[in-house]
Symmetry: C2
Subunit: 477 residues, 2 copies
């Protein structure tokens, strides 16, 4: 006999005589009511034990975390809170869970404690919900692009190119770190390393994705990327997943249109598919907000905020306009910003981005046409000679969720920019080939997937939206 998922039992439209259900005990009350969960939904099925005819020895083993197999009948529930429940006929303990030892007791645990038990935290309501939403968002991303004819490209994780320039890299090696072979000059002889040269973990698949876009037209990556930066914040991970679409013939406007449509699509998809989980997370956030002083509380609840993003166009603002707004803001004049905006060309800090999004525009904002000096070499130079066709999408509470640009498609301009930052253009021979042969306008962006999950789930620490977070001094599991 096949077992039925809890989700399907709860969605049943009629009683069923014989059902088999398997799952884990969340709670057991009055020696009678088992709340059983199997991960298929945040909701539990209530299983009612005939405790008078069940051995005391068995009842004692029905503890939080124990795995059970239950045969019985699905009947209309007597109690409130559920339409159906299982009247238990046979109950088998598959795996015990010693209540003295099981760390995930039915009480509130700190997120810090749960991070130390990342292998068990997914057995809680919060993390079960977050991880189901994460999974559905992943699928929404694939579906969005595939429906539109984009080709999914797996760009390399181990890269021999150190010219990506997006941040500090981890080295990958098969050499003994303390005792590598040396060359004639007494330096590490990377000819002996696995790949015959120094290699690192990728910080972005963009450059490789561009070579594919210039053949397949529309492509996207979705894979892990890495930063060896010692940032111990609630917004940074050393290992995180990034989505990077790249489209031939798209200019910056088309790129902004794509990014906005894409983000709205995936949020809408999650709202439709994760109703129960998002309702739960909405309530969780509301409860947490109540603990805060009134003036620190969010103006919007989680579901309200998600609807808001769907119903409002992202505000498009040039960097130059943004600098004007910031310079004239009270926060700047009263020197409330930690970094006072003095002049055009300043790099925006998180406090400035939050001011624009949360105080000034009160909506997601797309900033574009940044100063060339504070942006990457591959971004297309505007005719003014000082700004580039870059765009960042800023979200409330999250800050930058997308960074993108129209790419510099002109070979000579790109060569000059590469020379200016001191990279040997031979390092990028293959990248430059895309401009040598059939070059064209093209654009793309990167979306930090965990930041999207943070936004959609209302969690506040990025370590709580990825199964096993990698951060400085932490690679447990």
């Amino acid at each position: 006999m096949k077992h039925t998922k809890v989700k399907d039992l709860l969605n049943s439209t009629k009683p069923v005589d014989d059902v088999l259900v398997k799952g884990w005990v969340r709670t057991f009350r009055n020696n009678q009511f088992i709340a059983l969960n199997d991960g298929s939904t945040i909701n539990n099925i209530q299983c009612v034990v005939d405790f008078e005819n069940t051995p005391a020895e068995t009842l004692k083993r029905i503890t939080t975390g124990a795995a059970l197999s239950i045969k019985g009948s699905l009947v209309p529930s007597q109690g409130a809170g559920q339409k159906y429940e299982v009247k238990v006929a046979e109950l088998e303990i598959l795996g015990d869970s010693d209540p003295e030892k099981f760390p995930m007791q039915p009480k509130k645990h700190s997120f810090e404690f749960l991070r130390e038990n990342a292998h068990l935290r997914v057995r809680t309501n919060v993390f079960g919900a977050v991880m189901r939403v994460r999974s559905v968002l992943s699928f929404a991303i694939h579906q969005y692009f595939q429906e539109r004819g984009f080709v999914y490209v797996n760009t390399p994780i181990i890269t021999g190119s150190d010219a990506e320039g997006a941040g500090e890299m981890f080295q990958v090696t098969s050499l003994p770190v303390g005792n590598p072979p040396l060359n004639e000059e007494g330096k590490v002889d990377y000819r002996e390393d696995f790949f015959g040269k120094e290699t690192n973990l990728t910080v972005s698949g963009q450059l490789e994705a561009e070579t594919y876009a210039m053949a397949l037209g529309q492509v996207y990556t979705f894979g892990p990327t890495f930063r060896a930066e010692n940032s111990n914040t609630s917004r940074h991970l050393a290992e995180f997943w990034m989505v990077e679409p790249e489209v031939a013939f798209n200019d910056l406007d088309a790129n902004m249109d794509l990014a906005e449509d894409f983000i709205q699509y995936v949020i809408k998809y999650a709202l439709e598919r994760c109703e129960d989980d998002l309702k739960f997370l909405d309530q969780r956030l509301a409860d947490e907000e109540k603990q805060k002083p009134a003036n620190e509380r969010s103006e919007m609840g989680l579901l309200e905020k998600l609807q808001f993003v769907l119903q409002n166009n992202f505000k498009r603002v040039s960097y130059t306009e943004a600098i004007d707004i910031l310079k004239n803001s009270k926060s700047n004049k009263n020197r409330k910003f930690n970094y006072i905006i003095e002049e055009w060309g300043a790099d925006l800090q998180s406090e400035h981005e939050r001011y624009l999004v949360e105080k000034h525009f009160k909506s997601p904002v797309i900033l574009f046409d940044y100063p060339a000096k504070i942006k990457a070499f591959y971004m297309r130079l505007n005719d003014d000679g000082k700004t580039v066709r870059a765009m960042d999408i800023l979200f409330p509470g999250i800050g930058e969720i997308v960074g993108g640009s129209q790419r510099e498609e002109r070979l000579d301009v790109l060569q000059q920019k590469i020379a200016d930052i001191g990279i040997d253009e031979k390092e990028l021979w293959w990248y430059l080939d895309t401009r040598r042969f059939g070059t064209a306008v093209h654009s793309g962006f990167g979306l930090g997937f965990e930041r999207l999950v943070l936004f959609v789930t209302g969690m506040t620490n990025i370590r709580d939206v990825i199964p096993f977070p990698r951060t400085p001094q932490n690679a447990e599991f």
Copy 2:
């Protein structure tokens, strides 16, 4: 005016007065007929130039690889081979492609040459087709699992656990190789490394996925995995993508059912969605086969082989039966095998797997119940005390495409097996927790994604089904 994709133009059901199309020249004949491709399909749109009214200077620049923007009208084609063509009204060269320098000329290139130009090879018909099929297969995998309520889990790429035991690992470090800080004993002081300990690239997400399956019920991973093995073969990559489903309450039979259904689903999906690309690849393989001596040719064409897999159940054979078949085979008796099967317990070599699949059963084969000694520690021990509930799926031409097992769910048996192979069980404290708290029967498998792509595309070298292959001495791009 928005441009229309070549695919949509070719699928048009009626003429269109004004169309804009952008893409790259594949060929230009008679100063008149441009075959334009934009990657949306393997097929080109024929664009007919009014050469008498086009400047010679422009005509000269219409070369293979050049990027063009063409305005014109979609009209019924005069020539054979296509229903519609574009009558060119305006033609703009977006990016030139010097025929003296562009490496991808319209002629047959060797796969070795194309690998050295992995950034351009996707501009050929073969690699365009392969990469579109790869992308569609990826999506089919996600869709299969998501439709069935599986949760996608991103297990860590950088791992602090060296107990996975699936092969040699790459080390990941932020320390200076050759000159790392040393501890009191003169050894590398990994407390100073980014994660405060020695870390590697994952060889499998299985152990972490198991912790999630024991909470969410049905999960799968799909991500990059790594082997630092010096295998320079047409079947091995140092970096490859793996799919690993893991299901609570599934025994080995259910695991085999899942694997078979899954593989048939994704192949069927590709056949439906990639008709043009697979027809092309079928023809390519047929042409290649013609070059071979008659006795070396495949019995089946590519499409035939894919249909065969859909229409036939995979043959399920125990290891013990397989050994009998092999021992009694002519190849064994005449000592044609390089490794003669002498007795039960022998590890099967690729030649034996191919014999079973290609000669004996002539169908995909699932071998199960292997000797414990030749399989991993986490596989469930059978009651005979000498075999484990392992299964491998063997495919014609590919060999092992799936390896899986029912997992050892009994804490004491698992602890003993860990001790027997000399791993300190403290290393696996979190893994053992799944057996301490609510353990249950569960199973899973790993599918090497590139081997699936090889099978479906009919390519013969695994380096030709991943965009930028990583192999010993090669991490270019």
